[in-house]
Amino acid sequence: MSVIKEWVFTTDHKRVGILYLIGSVAAFVVAGIMALLMRAELSAIGPTLTANPTTYNVWLYAHGAIMILGFQIPALTGFAANYCIPLMIGAKDVAFPRLNAFSVWLFYMGVILALLTFVIPDPPDVLWTGYPPYSTITTGNTALYTFTVLLIGFASIIAGVNFLTTIAYMRAQGMTWNKLNFFVWSIIGSFVMQLIYVPVLGTAVLLISFDKYLGTNFFDPTIGGDVLTYQNLFWFYSHPAVYVIFLPFIGILMEILATFAKNPVFNYKVAVYGGCWGIVIISGEVWIHHLYVSGMPDWLRIGQMVTTLLISVPVGLITISMVGTLYKGSITFETPMLYGLGTLVLFLIGGLTGIPLAVTSLTVNLSETYYVVGHFHYVMAVAGTMAIFAGVYYWFPKMTGKMYSELWGKIGFWFTFVGANVIFWTMMDVGVRTGLPRRYYDFAAFPQVANEQYIMSVGAIIIAIGFTITLLNWIIGAARGPKASDNPWGSMSLEWTTVSPPPHGNWPKPPVVAEDWNPYAYTKR
């Protein structure tokens, strides 16, 4: 009983982090099953699982909304930040432990609301974007969508407040700003963006429920409202949301690359102040590229094309740092590193295929095709997910004090990596060659893509096998893996100086950071 109490009512940042991980992985499994259902439906022309397009729309809604709101953002800014930030900066906990517990439980309530989709009559069918006028006239339950976003959004706002304060005030003695791990910087950037942009999303989704249920006219053009207001508000958050996911995942990668290449982070200050902060600053001025074909004045469209292309500069700076960190390193290929390198490859493919979409003249033809789906799944979906997996594997010995199976870890990786490329490369290829429109539940008008659709569905099964192996590997490893040492990777970073798993309070005495210490102080070769 007391064990349950100590977990459910916990205010300890490590346990809150693990609760975040459990909740987000559960959400990931559900949303993944939605993806499999959709792939099964699309594996052949004509109805395969359902003849009802609305059912397909509900799957599509659940897949998108739960993956982004229930899995990626909470796994990165919830789990990874919660578990690692206090350990990396040498604090005994976060600034407001109760607020932290409130954040994780609000997130769970949001996930519960999202899961209600599968048991209530008239579930939401508004995709994860909730565009009016459809969302305000559908018979589906738009309110559920609104509240899911609001609860999880509010959870991330209070987490943001908490962590920015923690990092500002609770660093160990001697831990100056330039000695912070790159991951800590990426979380700072990520939470600053959350604080600025999440409220705008919250407002947008609240207003569609007002329109639908309280009779307001925000998005009703017949009485003076404007549909584009919603699209602007929504993407004003939801494009930066990509960077909210991107920054922590690149932060995790940087930690892993430095540890397994035994090299200091290359160009640390450029990556932090140019890369990380560059992204934060430009992130708010690019959202129009989601609205290129929705009707925009040219000055706005071309202006935001420039800013969209400009954001490749900070991203490029970070990429140079990552590659430079690998250069002349003594690299070993344990599972976290394998995932790290795999993520780097997927992220490069995804990033480079984004450039045509940024260019207004090309995007007119590519917009709303499978090419777009392939592109953002490369960057966000698989690169993001694999970075999360890399992080879980990397900190697994710290969290559990035990070791997972290297062999199964690697097998899981190769299934995931191969499956991801089979699906999403085919998707981009189909999009460019045939212009196959996204979001359709059947493709009778495009019989020439039947083979490719089938191949993608096979890819989905491959990737599902990979994920299953990975999840089982964690569960079995946590239950009865061999004991791990306190610092199995030989990392210099502060979180590895305490015992595994760390006790409440993290260190018996608050750590003090020496003048010449830094988290990447590997001897130069």
């Binding site: 609301l113 008239d122 309110a143 706002i157 407040v161 925000f218």
Partner: protein, 251 residues
Amino acid sequence: MAAHESAHHEGHDAWGTSIWPFVISFGVLALTLSFTFHFVYHSTFTAVIALGLGIPLILGGIAGWVSEAMGEGEGFSFTSMAWFILAEAMIFVSCFVGYWFSRLEAPFWPPEGSVALPKVLPLVMTVALVVSSLTIHRAEHFLHEGNRDGFVKWLLLTILLGLAFLGMSAYEWNHLIHENFTVKTNIFGTFFYSITGLHGSHVIVGLAIFIAGLLPAMKGNLSVGFWRTAGLYWHFVDIIWFFVVSQVYFW
């Protein structure tokens, strides 16, 4: 209460726990379900049950939380509130931007069906809110001097002014609704009620923070950090009102 055992004891080996965040989250869930039952499934009975569960959970949770944790996180809360206000401000920014777009795109303004807004009442409301900002400042001054009675007196005055503001707002809404100017009338009605309602809800939250701290304060549990932070939020609510009054009433 389970939570009291481990609170306040920093540094010993037990894992920190608190039941209140958990309780409040369920209250919030119940509130969202209540809205859904009523507006989506038109089942008022279940909606009332959910509401009856949610509100006590939230109020009880806040009371428990405040009495358990008053004064913890002392040196941090002011900065955190500044971060939180950044997020809050963005809510108002999105509403005002939507309002400006709709207004500037409109062929003529005010749109058909609008009524003339009162001019004197918003000025009185402005005065009430500005004075309340000064009184809470005065109350904090007494707090720093360690004068508890003076502090409580000026705090109560602040709360009264806030309530007066809400009362006037309610009177005005009631008056306008009787003139058939509602959220459904036109886009101005939509934005008028949303923006003033959004601001009003922040006044309510501000008052709720004051009242949540008032009971511990009367028992002598005074936390300077708590009141500085609460005061900061109140000043923010005050400043936002200038935008509301200038953009909605006098433009």
